[in-house]
Amino acid sequence: MDRNIKLKDDLLRELEETRRQLYEAKETIEAIRTGQVDALVVQKGSTHQLYTLKTADHTYRIFIEKMTEGALTLSQQGIILYANSSFGNMIGMPLSSIIGLPFEQFISKDNLAFYKTLFKTSWAGDCKGEVEIFYNGNRTPVQLSLTVLELDEGIALSIIITDLTLQKNTQRKLEENNRQLEHLNHTLENSNHDLQQFASVASHDLQEPLRKIQMFSNILKNKASGNLSNEEIAYLEKIIASTERMKALIIDILNYSRLSAVDGEYLPTDLNFVLKELVEDFELMIADKKGKIIFHDLPVLEVNRGQIRQVFQNLISNSLKFSKDSVPPVIEISAKLLSEKSIVSGEDENGDYCLLTIEDNGIGFDEKYATTVFSLFQRLHPKDSFEGTGIGLAITKKIIEKHHGLIQVKSTPGIGTKFMIVLPLKQQ
């Protein structure tokens, strides 16, 4: 019982003290409002803080007027009590005509129900929502941030209005671009797939009738050659040679189409070994032409060994094929490290790229063909003067591109041809 009385006394004292503090605070606010006081010193811990009208209200007023967002104060009935100039600009109306109007007048019809719910819930706590401001035929997508303000005159609602036009446009554009990209990707995937399918089926299925032509031509040649004139035998031999050429074409085009289908394994490969093997493969042809292949100090590169071997094989076989009749072919292969991925990049011992140069003293070709030689089925010479399908350099270029490299050629008729290949030391 005793304890209860004491508790009651304590509470009463506390109440009295709070009441006094409240009275003091009210007095101070009143003094500020009526201009009797323009500064307050408030003790905060061990220091004193100076609050003046200038640092508080005035600063915020400027801040609110200058910000790009619209700012409103609404009465409990939803009437605009205050609007900053950004809001005025947003709807293109002078501030004087805005004050006193119900804010919902500026909300588009479709969003009115939503705004009313937003308005209702905001009195219980901060809330946000996206609506469309509609005025004078202009629609502006905005975000509303609603917060209840407790003013001396009673409670009011503050609304910050963020213009979302730019954001929405950007978003729409982004979505549109994404959709287009997805569509393109899909189309590309499909056509890639079709292409693979086509190359594979066509190549396999083309070979069966082709082999029959070969077989029956051979049979005819063997069985009937006694009854045929030399001219007729020559025709048959032309058929056989054509089928062989077509088979070579089909196999090459099949290999070319495979290149895009399979992602090879990239392993550190010593190009000196690759070249050594190739020189052995070409031994007969080199000896036949009394030629020479010179290479030394080639680097170790992260490559698909089979594919890079194919690159050198194609280039060397071209050089041997297009050598001059009167001069033994000399093919020189050299390498240096570059600072960047460019044919004209400066040399850099610690560079991440490697320039490989394959130079010959062959018949060369006109510089105007320097880009077209890499196209599929591009040939610069009549079929009967030099063998070949015209796919070799296209395959070479594709392999280099798959290795994230570059290839270029320089050539002078009668002097020789120089291929330049830039490859990264390591594949990412």
């Binding site: 190549s203 396999h204 070979q207 069966e208 082999r211 029959k212 070969q214 077989m215 051979n218 063997n222 099949l254």
Partner: protein, 135 residues
Amino acid sequence: MAGTQNIPKKVLLAEDDPDDIGFFFHYLGDRSDLHLLPPVENGEEVVEYLQKAHNGAFPDLIILDQNMPKCNGLQTLAIIKNNAQFENIPVFVYSTYTDAYLVKQSLQLGARSVLEKPVSVEGYHKMIDNILELI
């Protein structure tokens, strides 16, 4: 040794293309070291043939065309190699076009070798000589 060599090897060819059957029998029919069994047209018929054959009457080797209807070369190869009765019969796969995939798959499934269909008489003899060396 000499005795077994003189007995002609029984060869079962699974091939659906009449021209290819013709080439095969035309070029290899005369060889005294071969006994060409009547050809079958697809993998199902190979299995049927083997099931009907009495023990010891199995072919000495089977040549499967890859591109056959119903049951292709690789599928037939898998059936043969998964049957305890037939698994020891040497099987060869041949096709107009042999790519790395066909070679790898065939060898993995237990084929002795993979061969490209020849384009000449000499080619046929060479192919069968290679096969005989491998059995």
